[in-house]
């Protein structure tokens, strides 16, 4: 139904400024980045920058680090978010307080989040004090160094899980609320255990939600950057960090753009994998 006699052009007029703005600041930089990555002034099309990126010592390391981190962080975040959402579903009181506390990191800068964990995991941090009390170490140990690759990875893993589980939680909680209560009650009447209810009723109905949460979180996880730098400095290269270095330190926008394009490519690839693997049938969408 149309409102009053407002012609369609009013609707277009209202969205026009943001369409123009988004086109200018998304589509145009995308084209520009692609051109930057594959062209050289005066030499036309070239794969030089791409080869330079792949040939770079840090490329393989940063790719491996980023992929490992994504592979470790995302499933844990999904599991945690599902667990939190199911707790929220069942606790008798204080739901909104818990929701606020668990999503507190949503408002915190990734840089600040990294620094917060630095105060815990750094050599003079609380974690070392716990280890000291347990008699495991007697001197402060700097776990955030390439000399302890596993500990370093775990530290970044923990900080990332803390920082970005919130967004998965928000999406999952929103989806959870759309599931009619009757389904769960029916399962209970039929004698389903809480786990069976979750596994057989809630989870299948939550599939579209899980899919979008996974896509968004994975894509954002490929952009991990400031947390890593706050904790590990250059000891743990990641893809966006390399783009930053090529742009800033090495003053080569071409290779930096190649990195940016590469990150976009794996993001799109991951999205397709999720869309294929978690195919959502129309009828499950309510």
């Amino acid at each position: 139904m149309k409102v009053g006699r407002s012609p369609e052009w009013v609707a277009y007029g209202l969205i026009a400024p943001s369409v123009v703005f988004l086109a200018l600041l998304f589509l145009w930089p995308l084209t520009e980045t692609a051109l930057m990555a594959f062209r050289e002034p005066g030499r036309g099309w070239t794969a030089v920058h791409l080869r330079k990126m792949i040939g770079d010592l840090n490329f393989t390391v940063s790719l491996k680090n980023t992929l490992l981190l994504v592979a470790a962080v995302v499933p844990v975040q999904l599991a945690l978010a599902l667990g939190m959402a199911s707790l929220l579903d069942r606790i008798p009181r204080g739901r909104s307080v818990f929701l606020y506390i668990w999503t507190v990191s949503l408002g915190i800068s990734d840089l600040a989040a990294g620094l917060a964990w630095l105060s815990i995991l750094g050599d003079r941090g609380y974690f070392n004090t716990i280890l000291h009390m347990a008699g495991i170490v007697d001197q402060p140990v700097n776990w955030l160094s390439y000399r302890h690759p596993l500990a370093l990875f775990l530290c970044i893993f923990i900080a990332e899980v803390w920082r970005a589980t919130a967004i998965v939680l928000v999406i999952v909680v929103a989806g959870w609320q759309l599931i009619p209560r009757e389904y769960g009650e029916a399962a209970e009447v039929l004698g389903a255990s809480p786990w069976q209810k979750f596994r057989r009723v809630t989870l299948p109905l939550l599939k579209p939600t899980v899919q979008s949460a996974l896509i968004l979180r994975t894509v954002l996880a490929f952009e991990v950057f400031a947390v890593v730098y706050a904790l590990a400095g250059r000891d743990f290269p990641v893809l966006v960090g390399e783009a930053y270095n090529w742009q800033g330190a090495y003053q080569n926008t071409h290779v930096a753009s190649a990195y940016a394009l590469f990150i976009l490519t794996i993001s799109i690839a991951a999205t397709f994998v999720y869309l294929k693997a978690l195919r959502v049938r129309r009828e499950t969408l309510s």
Binding site: V3, L22, M133
Partner: protein
């Protein structure tokens, strides 16, 4: 049944405490004198709270300028994203037009866009048009990040305002524009304020674009990020705390709108 509900509650509480730990740790660190910060082993409760570390932080050359830069950029982002986003949100909520779904999809897609792609080509372009290293330049990129949110939130806001109210005012002889200003706007105002606050936080927190697009007009995040390697621990931790506080306050203020921020409706 009752016992299990209690158990869930305690589990949730334990998890919540765990979740607050980093916030506690950085707050205590920033409010401890340097000597306590470097003490070994650490005490669990702060031995002495003092402003010393934070005072040192704000007095370091460049920090205060960076804070002001951050505030200006965030304020600009706030204004741009509401000025562009609210009309678009209203249009999505009140009209049916061709390409509506495409537009929605476009907005959702922008959230999955690597920031590096957005900001890298802009460096060269901004240098040539004189926007590099300016507040306006950074604010434009931050607006691109915040705009999708502000469109989605304001669209869900306007959807929540009964169309009948507007139509009633038309039949009573109110013009379209006046009816919007008198009826819709006052009802939408708290939500729009929340949208603006959210845009502010997005900008205040952003690191990558601010870092590559500025050199002298560093925002606080860019300044902190650039000095990570050479600055002492208490400086970094005070900086982290300083970044966190306004965000926490703001997010607390807008927690009601948490869900529509991500384009999902909360019942």
């Amino acid at each position: 049944m009752k016992r299990s509900a209690e158990r869930q509650f305690w589990m949730a509480s334990a998890l919540a405490l765990l979740w607050l730990m980093p916030v506690y740790a950085i707050a205590v660190s920033a409010l401890s004198p340097e000597a306590d910060l470097l003490a070994w082993p650490k005490s669990w409760l702060p031995a002495a709270l003092s402003w010393e570390t934070l005072r040192f932080f704000v007095q370091v050359a460049g920090v205060w300028d960076a804070v002001i830069n951050s505030a200006i950029v965030a304020a600009l982002t706030m204004v741009f994203s509401i000025a562009l986003g609210a009309p678009a949100g209203y249009s999505l909520a009140r009209f049916h037009f061709k390409g509506q779904n495409l537009f929605r999809m476009l907005i959702v897609m922008t959230r999955a866009f690597p920031l590096a792609i957005l900001s890298l080509p802009l460096v060269t372009r901004f240098i040539s048009v004189g926007l590099y290293d300016t507040h306006l330049g950074v604010a434009l990129v931050h607006t691109a990040l915040a705009l999708p949110f502000s469109i989605l939130v304001s669209s869900s806001l306007f959807m929540g305002i009964p169309r009948e109210l507007e139509e009633a005012s038309w039949t009573l002889g109110c013009g379209k524009i006046r009816s919007f200003a008198r009826i819709v706007l006052p009802l939408a105002l708290p939500g729009l304020a929340a949208t603006m606050i959210f845009a502010f936080v997005v900008s205040w927190n952003e690191v990558f674009a601010a870092s590559v697009l500025t050199l002298n007009q560093r925002t606080l995040t860019a300044f902190l990020f650039a000095s990570l390697e050479e600055s002492p621990l208490h400086f970094r931790l005070a900086g982290g705390f300083f970044l966190t506080v306004p965000s926490l306050v703001f997010i607390f203020a807008v927690r009601k709108y948490l869900f529509s921020m991500w384009g999902i409706s909360d019942k």
